[in-house]
Symmetry: C2
Subunit: 329 residues, 2 copies
Amino acid sequence: MRAIKLMPVVEALKRGKHFAIIAHIAPDGDTIGSCLALANFLMDHGKTVELYCHDAPPESLAFLQGIRNFVRPGESGGSQAHSAYYDAVVCLDCSDEGRLGDAAFLLKRTSCTINIDHHATNTLYAGINVVEPGVSSTAELVFDLIQEMDGDYFSLPVYEAIYTGIATDTGGFGFSNTTPAAHRIAAQVIEYGLDVDRLTRLLFRNTTLARVRLLAKVLDSLEMHCDDKVAFLMVSKVMLEEAGLDENNTEGIVNYGIDIVGVECAALFKEVEKDKTKVSLRTKGAVDASALAVKFGGGGHARAAGCLINAGIEEAKGQVLEALKGMLE
Amino acid sequence: MRAIKLMPVVEALKRGKHFAIIAHIAPDGDTIGSCLALANFLMDHGKTVELYCHDAPPESLAFLQGIRNFVRPGESGGSQAHSAYYDAVVCLDCSDEGRLGDAAFLLKRTSCTINIDHHATNTLYAGINVVEPGVSSTAELVFDLIQEMDGDYFSLPVYEAIYTGIATDTGGFGFSNTTPAAHRIAAQVIEYGLDVDRLTRLLFRNTTLARVRLLAKVLDSLEMHCDDKVAFLMVSKVMLEEAGLDENNTEGIVNYGIDIVGVECAALFKEVEKDKTKVSLRTKGAVDASALAVKFGGGGHARAAGCLINAGIEEAKGQVLEALKGMLE
């Protein structure tokens, strides 16, 4: 079935010679891994590819081959570099046009737009849409696409990029979107020679001294509420400054709260500026994180959501506690 | 090939009716998962099984079906319960007789001893030895054994136990022993209906408030040495007492040290009693953790080892730093 859905993409990529590939804003391992896998594959087949992303790719993925080739369309001088026309423009892991950010204008630079994604909320904004919510990751679809186009193809950098997309989007083969296919692709790329230990260290077991120092301080701030069903963690600007880190270095810390037995809701309160607090929410069981975030103009999923509260940390904590009342059954 | 090696085991288990299955001392997810998978499988086929382990299974595995059936041979009253004779005694994940602890005497209660393991150091102490160092885990071998004995067999509790063995021994499909077969078995058990998110939360994303409080304190003790190539973490008896935890609650904390970029050697110093310090060592690159541990009468692997030093934490730190000199190239 999936092979049939991919046929129009296969034909467009075989026919064309010059492509643009776009990753989504605030890029993660799946969008970057998918873009680099497809770009390297196409270049190995004599095509030219330009890679675009509204934001800079995360430093943690710097080991992926070709990652320095991403162009930020909004950057000064960046727009001159863009080609006038592409045989196709491929968006990977982008659920709607808004996720393209400043790269959205590229959709007008071709008569063939392609949208490959695994988000159920995808708006089918392209000419060719391959949207499969049942797969683990967009990288899984790119793997299928490569197999369809050239079943004998071998390239370790391409399979490292595929593995990166699958492993990061499934939380290291742990989340509910871990499909049998995700495991079977991993099995195949290990047979191809992928160094699992090296890759997983780069992706998951890789931190800095400053981050560990910050983690110690944030964990020390742990506060329990509502009969230990609610865990609050706090990050002030002073804590970030003392660690010499910017606010992008707190990813995953909220999980230390939700992973505690008995906790139903965990929140990380991060002071981004005076009277502005970013709140990351994680929930188990009864509490809907998305419903909680929506009360503050935020959003997300049932188990992970976020919002921005126009108040200092202490006041924001009080507001979230108040909103939580009645949600903890 | 493996099917041929397993044939004598298949025959012995098909022929017999009454078995003992033994897990190793200080049991982990692989030995416990392997034992429970095989025991439940055999009982589903009308056999009787007695499960033995020198130590109590870890609380974190309490969700596995049948785990309360493990008997500790050394416990008062325990020995009376043992059968006089077994059709076969099966040791799973036990590399030598010493690993059987107080359960070793059971090898004399049968004419058919079976040793199934994946440790290269296995001493082949049984009548039938199936030792495969190339597999991810003993659970992988038990999966093969079950497939050989009854390819149509289905039992979710058995596959949860198999998955537990594979996932814990590979560090969540991340370590270098993550084989293609490990991933393919995971794919298969997910198709059988295993709830990955639930299992991985129980195995890996499951802590207690006391442990998080202890972690905050231990991370706060982080000391860097030798141009930030060496990370030391400390756990005193007072810290454990304040957290209300015993010394078995520090597993994995040393990894916060070794996961720091640039660190070549991390050590966790744990005060077990006055002037006795347990040291957990992790290394990258040049340093051989085993060679370092051997200097203090300990042992282990190249990347993970441990030793006991007859000194307080401060003196032990000095001794390890001294021993490290010349090893950091």
